[in-house]
């Protein structure tokens, strides 16, 4: 492991920024010491999130970011193509793609696990998604091990190690007053070699361990139990308080549903785009003729939790909750997955 003092982390970022689109965790504007006009204009200012590195940004190293980095591979709204209609003709123009390499710097273990979930959906199962692949394949990931956690974190319950992400290109460890860097892939090795002069050896340093998490849930057997719980009264009990705001799905780093829609500068000129959608919205499954397979909150809430804990395990081979705690801290009615898992464990089912 090589290390650099935390106070000198900007040297590393400055060295990487010219060669990569470098995304770093940045504090939310409400806690920002120097909010610049551009930051305020960007939207969602209150949440800490990944931003393109510029000197002077208030970097956020304490815990996981409020918004996950999923929008770097799967933007909240993404242009797909332009269609120009003239008389009876229709011309379709693909969006040009970018090949500039990206570094995602300082991603936590839970969010790296969520990138694995996204890869399964967009790259591994069935067709490859061109838009996702374009961003994903030019991205290098620098994981950052956690030395502290939010009260809402429960990654350890979901089988994730907050200090280690073996699939990342580089693992950064919190050594107290320094960050330690370990390459875990050939590309990671190359990059670290290129900034090696900034670092010194850290033979004996031990990464700081986070305190035990406050939320502990038992995932064991939940998927299997849910197979028998489609008609269980639990969903009726849980769903009335959901206000259908979609916060849970928008914040969740493993939620991948999208809508395809368009904006029209003019009727003849449309930009086809896709944007995040939420299974918690009424019209999500509503068909042109008016029929809706999930007409009430009971079906929608049930679908969300079955999707996270059962359907995705069946379809993509893993539970699609990584214990990041975002829905736990942000659902306005506390209809969150950690409690739901406990309720599922406690539910009575007839064999």
């Amino acid at each position: 492991m090589r290390k650099i003092a935390k106070t000198r982390i900007d040297d590393v970022l400055r060295a990487l920024a010219p060669r990569y689109d470098l995304y770093v965790p940045v504090e939310g504007a409400t806690t920002m010491r120097t909010p610049t006009a551009t930051l305020w204009q960007e939207g969602l200012e209150n949440a800490s999130r990944f931003r393109l590195y510029e000197e002077g940004l208030p970097l956020y190293w304490r815990t996981n970011t409020g918004l996950s980095p999923k929008d770097l591979f799967f933007p909240q709204t993404e242009k797909m193509y332009t269609a120009i209609s003239q008389g009876k003709t229709v011309e379709i123009k693909e969006e040009s793609t970018n090949a500039w390499p990206i570094i995602l710097f300082g991603v936590r273990s839970c969010d790296i696990a969520s990138i694995d979930c996204m890869d399964r959906v967009f790259l591994q199962k069935g067709y490859e998604d061109t838009y996702y692949k374009n961003r994903r394949q030019r991205t290098l990931i620098f994981a950052l091990g956690c030395s502290t956690h939010e009260d809402t974190c429960f990654c350890t319950s979901m089988g994730i190690d907050p200090k280690a992400s073996p699939t990342a290109d580089v693992q950064i460890s919190d050594l107290g007053d320094a960050f330690g860097f370990t390459a875990q892939s050939p590309s990671g090795q190359q990059i670290l070699a290129s900034i090696d002069s900034l670092m010194s050896d850290a033979y004996t340093a031990q990464p700081v361990s986070p305190d035990p998490m406050l939320i502990n849930v038992n995932l064991e057997g939940v998927t299997e139990k849910l197979e028998t719980m489609f008609d269980h009264p639990l969903w009726d009990e849980l769903s009335p308080r959901c206000i259908g705001c979609g916060t849970c799905t928008f914040l969740c780093p493993t939620c991948y549903c999208f809508d395809i829609n368009h904006k029209s500068p003019t009727h003849a000129h449309i930009v086809k785009q896709r944007s995040w959608d939420s299974c918690m919205f009424v019209d999500y499954t509503c068909m042109a003729g008016g029929h809706n397979p999930r007409p009430s909150k009971t079906e929608r809430v049930r679908n969300r939790f079955l999707d996270k804990l059962l359907y995705n395990r069946q379809r993509h081979g893993r539970v699609f909750c990584v214990g990041c705690g975002r829905c736990v801290s942000k659902c306005p009615v506390s209809l969150e997955i950690a409690t739901v898992i406990q309720k599922i464990q406690a539910a009575e089912v007839t064999p």
Binding site: Q124, T130, T228, D231, A288, H291, L306, Q314
Partner: protein
């Protein structure tokens, strides 16, 4: 009290962290064991439409028209298997998934009922209008499973559209299939789609029975009057492979009657309709449990549906 056991349609659970292998067009559950019927969407980006031209529009009924679509270079945009879907778009109005009703060497045909913004706009356009078209999507009908067997096609209203692709295939490969029985009904004579097939082409097909019914008597109609589900009971069809498609209420009663008549759930095939956006199993909205109708369907056997959550 807990009626549905949600099946693990992929066999066993994989361990967390083990990567799944890509399996385009997986078909879940069931025992018919049929294989994927066709390759996926044409072109490197499965979400990008090709440019097409609607060269011909046929008025089928007061609210249904058939659109004949060819590529901008005059070649067929893609060659779907019977029962597969295509995404048709008029860019200013949006895009939607339709079954490909039939095809010839250069054109895809889609019979479309006016029910929403896009379909209403489609009903307003003129021949020569260009459009976007992408596909094919979905699994299609289980041709291998059907080969060599007697087939009963049961359709109501616009539900004949997806079924017609299979009927046409059977007629074009007549020797590969046993007896073909077609039972089709609509609200009125005017609402019967594909009249040229019903009254001119199909009557000439060898070894077939063709039964057409309308819901209420009309002066100029001397055929059968009554609903499709009761008609099939009257006909006392002996159990073989049935392909059922139509409005939800008709499907519901037809399936119940077929069961009474001794049809085996694995031999009853139907197509599902769900809201779709991507067609390639990514956007998430067409799920029934862990199945994506755009990828794993739209064709399912009754046996497969019985094993899925009843949320459609």
């Amino acid at each position: 009290m807990y009626v549905h056991k949600i099946p693990n349609s992929h066999g066993t659970y994989e361990t967390q962290g083990v990567l799944t292998t890509p399996d385009t067009n997986t078909i879940h559950g069931g025992t018919t064991g049929y294989a994927p019927t066709s390759a996926g969407p044409v072109g490197p980006n499965p979400l990008l439409p090709q440019r097409g031209i609607i060269t011909k529009i046929i008025t089928e009924t007061p609210d249904t028209k058939t659109f004949c679509i060819t590529g901008i270079d005059g070649t067929k945009p893609f060659s779907p298997q019977p029962g597969q879907l295509g995404m048709l778009s008029l860019p200013a109005y949006g895009e939607a998934m339709f079954s490909v009703t039939s095809q010839d060497d250069t054109h895809l045909h889609m019979a479309i009922k006016a029910v929403g913004e896009l379909t209403n706009a489609l009903h307003e356009i003129e021949e020569g209008q260009e459009c976007g078209i992408r596909g094919p999507y979905g699994n299609g009908f289980p041709l291998e499973f059907c080969r060599g067997k007697d087939l009963i096609f049961i359709a109501g209203g616009i539900g004949l559209a997806p079924v017609r692709s299979l009927i046409e295939y059977c007629i074009n490969h007549r020797a590969d299939f046993g007896k073909l029985t077609i039972v089709y009904g609509a609200r009125s004579y005017a609402d019967l789609v594909f009249k040229e097939d019903l009254f001119e082409n199909w009557p000439k097909v060898a070894n077939k029975d063709l039964y057409i019914t309308i819901d209420r008597a009309e002066e100029t109609w001397d055929g059968h009057v009554g609903f499709v589900p009761s008609y099939i009971e009257e006909l006392a069809l002996s159990p073989s492979v049935a392909v059922v498609c139509g409005p939800p209420i008709m499907i519901q009663f037809t399936l119940a009657n077929l069961e009474k008549m001794g049809f085996c759930p694995a031999d009853v095939i139907t197509t599902m309709e769900m809201r779709m956006k991507c067609g390639i199993g990514k956007c998430g909205r067409c799920n029934i449990g862990s199945c994506f109708v755009c990828l794993d369907g739209p064709v399912f056997t009754q046996e497969q549906l019985n094993a899925m959550p009843a949320e459609y």
